[in-house]
Amino acid sequence: MSGLKWTFEVDGNDFTRAGEASSSLKKKLRALGVSPDIIRRVSIALYEGEINMVIHANGGTIDVEMTPDRIDMVLKDTGKGIPDIEQAMQAGWSTAADEVRSLGFGAGMGLPNMKKNTDEMRIESTVGVGTTVYMTIYIS
């Protein structure tokens, strides 16, 4: 069966709006009565992904699909791409700019946190073309 679908446009030009997509998805999931633990994992994974899109890729599009047993998230950008995904996945590795560090970003925990909070995660990236991240969280 096809589930509920939401699309969020992530504005890459206004850093102060970063995180709004995951915040609004969180509100929707709460209204649907999804369990707090699932909401927490979904919103952290999506939050980290969304922040990455703003900091590194000048924004993009997030597609979320929810069925009774799973939530699938696809984060697609046309940014500069990740040259070495294995390195990017390492805790502590960051290429974030200094001006966002005072807000707690740039600790190099984004991708590891996404991996930790999802059941499945896959990254497709081509340098100069963009990055697409696929994440799945099972509900039951």
């Binding site: 850093f15 102060t16 709006r17 995180g19 509100k27 939050y47 807000l103």
Partner: protein
């Protein structure tokens, strides 16, 4: 004579007339007379240092009691960002906000929300490059008052925007009046405050004639009442009330306001002594390539406010944990918004900050110069121990009091004793700690 209101007051029964507070006061506003500390009203900036340092708890902050809620038909709670850092294991700000509603407030307007709007307005103002650099934050009322009495040369650099608390009160009251149809006088905007300077800032505001904040209650007064209500709130479905992101909450600790500028070319100093050092360096134009200076009188920023309950450094960690996965900001300003005169009025100062020369020796410049010369002479003749026994914080302060006609040079204990042929211990040539009857001399 201008009337002064101060939140910081003295409990005369508890005061023993010791010198702890006079030594710590950044504007030398306290003298000991008649075995009691006496606050010189026009000098006090309500920073709360004396409250922090008094070993006898004789200095206190006068806040409104919680009964103030009964004075208004409709009440709005304005919780400070640092308030959210006072609780253990708080995962969701909404639990605190729901508990405030259960406590009896009709509505909540987070000061952090207003802080995000102030951050957005500051970014716009900085982009316009209309202010002399570096721009100095005006959010800490103790610092703004300190600049007003001690650093007149820096007044033009002070950010001419209201502090988030004032913006919150204005926006909240305007919206509530439109929603309820009640006159503004029947709507009470009550700030839940970490600091006494904010009490003063609402009674005698700078940057405007009258504050829209109707009452200030201390965090320490409402905190115990809220804990039980929070437990109840956490056990059932709660309303989603919070409209704050990372930037707004970050204002609760030092560096937070700066982080909202999304520009790493800033400096953030906290603790009144550090603040004074930065202001002195600024006067000497030592920071030419810094865009913004954030100054907080309390160590750690607002989390260090004397009315808070949690250790400032623990609170900072808690604040960072709560903000971790919040959107960067949930409040934004477009150019069109700023064209709205109401919003402009909510945000911008309408009265300029003016130098108040409370430290000067005389109204007349020549007279003042003469007195300064005399004070310097007197100061030379004193021992320079800055012991505080005369009731003034330093030998220099005593000398100035003498030329002002407020003290006598004989108030110096050492001078007085020497006159009578007694050599006080600090001037005796004895070794310390030898006690076999015959003291060895150096």
């Amino acid at each position: 004579m201008q009337e002064f209101f101060h939140s910081v007051t003295l409990d005369r029964d508890k005061c023993r007339g010791c010198i702890n507070c006079i030594k710590r006061c950044p504007t030398e506003a306290i003298r000991v007379r008649n075995k009691k500390a006496y606050i010189i009203a026009e000098r006090c900036i309500d920073c709360g240092e004396c409250i922090r340092v008094c070993p006898h708890h004789a200095k206190r902050a006068t806040c409104d009691s919680l009964d103030i809620l009964n004075k208004y038909k409709y009440t709005i709670a304005l919780p400070a960002p640092s308030f959210m850092a006072q609780f253990n294991n708080l995962e969701d700000i909404d639990i605190v906000l729901n508990a405030l509603i259960d406590f009896g407030f009709n509505e909540i307007f987070e000061v952090a929300k207003a802080a995000e709007i102030v951050s957005a307005a500051t970014r716009k103002l900085m982009e316009s490059r209309k202010l002399p650099r570096p721009v100095i934050s005006s959010a800490c009322p103790a610092v703004t008052r300190l600049i007003r009495v001690r650093f007149p040369g820096l007044i033009d650099q002070v950010l001419p925007l209201h502090a988030p608390i004032e913006v919150a009160a204005r926006m909240a009251k305007r919206a509530a009046a439109a929603k309820t149809g009640l006159p503004l006088s029947e709507i009470g905007a009550i700030f839940i405050s970490p600091c006494p300077a904010k009490v003063t800032a609402t009674k005698m505001p700078l940057g405007t004639e009258k504050s829209w904040v109707d009452g200030v209650v201390a965090v320490s007064d409402i905190y115990p009442k809220l804990l039980g209500l929070m437990k109840d709130a956490a056990s059932h479905e709660i309303a989603m009330l919070s409209e704050t992101g990372k930037i707004g909450l970050s204002w609760g600790s030092s560096g937070g306001e700066s982080s909202g500028l999304i520009n790493d070319n800033y400096l953030a100093a906290d603790g009144i002594e550090n603040v004074i050092r930065v202001l002195e360096d600024l006067e000497d134009e030592k920071f030419r390539d810094v865009d913004f200076i954030e100054l907080n009188a309390c160590s750690g920023g607002c989390v260090g406010g004397v009315l808070n309950v949690e250790n400032p450094y623990v609170a900072k960690t808690k604040l960072y944990r709560i903000r971790k996965h919040l959107p960067v900001s949930l409040n934004h300003l477009e150019d069109a918004d700023l064209a709205d005169p109401k919003l402009k009025n909510d945000l911008s100062w309408d009265t300029p900050l003016e130098f108040v020369p409370v430290m000067k020796l005389d109204e007349d410049v020549f007279e003042a110069m003469k007195k300064m010369e005399q004070a310097e002479e007197i100061c030379q003749s004193l021992e320079g121990l800055d012991c505080g026994s005369c009731g003034a914080p330093s030998c220099r302060a005593l000398a100035e009091d003498v030329v002002r006609g407020l003290a006598s040079i004989d108030d110096c204990v050492f001078r007085f004793k020497e006159k009578n042929g007694y050599v006080p211990a600090p001037f005796r040539s004895e070794q310390v700690g030898v006690k076999d009857g015959k003291e060895e001399t150096v």
